[in-house]
Amino acid sequence: MAVETPAGPTLADKLYDKLFHNYVWKSIFRTGYPNTPRNQMLVVATNVFLHLHPTRIHRTHVKITHTYCLGGLSFFMFLGLTVTGILLMFYYVPSVERAYLDIQNIQTTVQFGQLMRNMHRWMAHAMVILVFLHMMRVFYTGAYKPPREFNWVVGVILLVLTFLLSFTGYLLPWDQLAFWAITVGTNIAGSAPVLGPKTRFWLLGGFEVGPDSLIRFYTLHVIGLPLLAAIFMAVHFWRIRRDGGLARPL
């Protein structure tokens, strides 16, 4: 009588075991490969990046047409802008003598320099548009309502910070477009009653756009405002979780 012997592990099984169950892998990822519900929940809960999310989410919120991923994409643009921005910082010096030439060099002599600059520019525009659309999505789904009042306020602050981030970056190429756009923009700010002229002077480091304005805009653009935005983003994301995730009907 023939006895049925269980089939041994296939080559794929052995490979899988070698890859994901070895000592080094386990030291980095405590959970196994997320192919079972248990591991899938554990991987979200124990990974520092993924744990922005809860482990489970209401089924209506994974429908694309509910959020259109607008908030997440705004954040993704911020990350992309940070990466391309850092690459651009390697070549750019914020001085009146060098700024314009550096941008020309980035475009002509730096490998993929033109691509990086283009990415940075278009991502910045995309972020402004995405943040605005995200605000519209939140409004029209009534997601600012209790208990999410304060997170809406944080969102409005982030909208302003996005505008400011984009605005301070606009001067850096030091071309005619940049120079006159910032002249017009800061004139608008300078028209404020009482504090206007002082604000304009503080922003420009003088009475008109010049070397001091460039270094101020640069500092605000690469460290001041991103830091502030990152802090408010942290609060924004934290509050989403604390306030019970995305809004859903009562």
Partner: protein, 288 residues
């Protein structure tokens, strides 16, 4: 004496409906990954095809005509053409941001959340307000540019003559009406000469004040109030949510129109032109 402190009810997160939940990995994480990839690839493609602009090196002596702010501030630059600079550039946007930030403290009812247009009438309020915002803003821009009167005359042969010339634009109210001499320098009595926050109050130029501040304020406050009143009389606006829907939708439409007209419809000297007539000259100031 002990004071009884009555805690106001604080909104709490809704209880979870666990049987309605799905796993974040893979159901959400994969969607996010795909969205991120689609955007990365699209932006790579866009960056490959279209270069970021770079004009000549900055030169404080050569003013391009028109000089424009970045596109997302062109709505404010458009407003600047129609009212006092402090109002257009700072006060109106600041007040609006504060109003917008206060939305959830005005509308505290948590009904109708988590769904698009969940409340009754919300779709029709949104559409009506957006149309009013769109048409109203374009109408005001065209009127104030003086093109309205010109086109009415050109197309329909209707002209108000010199008696109605003051209606051609906002500025013509100041220029065409026979304002008495004294109205342009009315002393700020009894505050004359008083300095408040660095501004000294001497005389009021009434026609200029009317055109630059009073009428724009009346329009900016009056039109939204009128919109809400009409929608309320029609029975569409009932709750505070409805009020906000009307306000916000009107704002989005007006904001879009202002940005568009500032970007694509303002030519040299900020004159209202069609997009295909836009020209930029690297002019020398005073010789344009």
């Amino acid at each position: 004496m002990a004071t009884a402190v009555v805690a106001r009810p604080v909104a709490r997160p809704q209880p979870r409906a666990r049987d309605e939940e799905v796993l974040v990995w893979p159901d959400l994480v994969f969607i996010e990954f795909i969205a991120a990839m689609v955007f990365t690839l699209t932006l790579f493609l866009l960056s490959y095809l279209v270069n970021a602009p770079l004009l000549d090196q900055a030169n404080a002596d050569v003013t391009p005509n028109p000089s424009k702010a970045p596109w997302y501030l062109l709505n404010l630059q458009e407003l600047l053409l129609h009212m006092n600079a402090a109002m257009a550039g700072v006060i109106v946007p600041t007040v609006w941001l504060v109003i917008m930030g206060a939305f959830p403290y005005f509308d505290r009812d948590n009904e109708g959340q988590g769904q698009y247009f969940a409340t009754e009438n919300s779709v029709r309020i949104t559409i009506a307000s957006a149309i009013v915002g769109f048409v109203g803003t374009w109408g005001l821009i065209i009127w104030d540019s003086g093109k309205g009167a010109y086109l009415v005359n050109k197309w329909f042969g209707i002209s108000g003559g010199s008696n109605l010339a003051f209606l051609e634009s906002e500025r013509s109210i100041q220029q065409q009406l026979p304002w008495p001499e004294w109205s342009t320098h009315i002393p700020y009595l009894p505050f004359r000469g008083v300095t408040i926050l660095g501004q000294q109050f001497l005389n009021l130029n009434f026609p200029a004040w009317l055109v630059e501040q009073a009428i724009p304020t009346a329009v900016l406050v009056g039109f939204p109030c009128m919109l809400i009143y009409v929608l309320w009389r029609k029975g569409w606006v009932v709750t505070r949510r409805d009020v906000l829907l009307a306000l916000f939708s009107g704002f989005v439409a007006a904001y879009g129109v202002l940005t568009l007209s500032g970007t694509a419809f303002r030519g040299q000297g900020q004159e209202l032109v069609f997009p295909w007539e836009l020209k930029v000259s690297e002019g020398i100031p005073g010789q344009e």
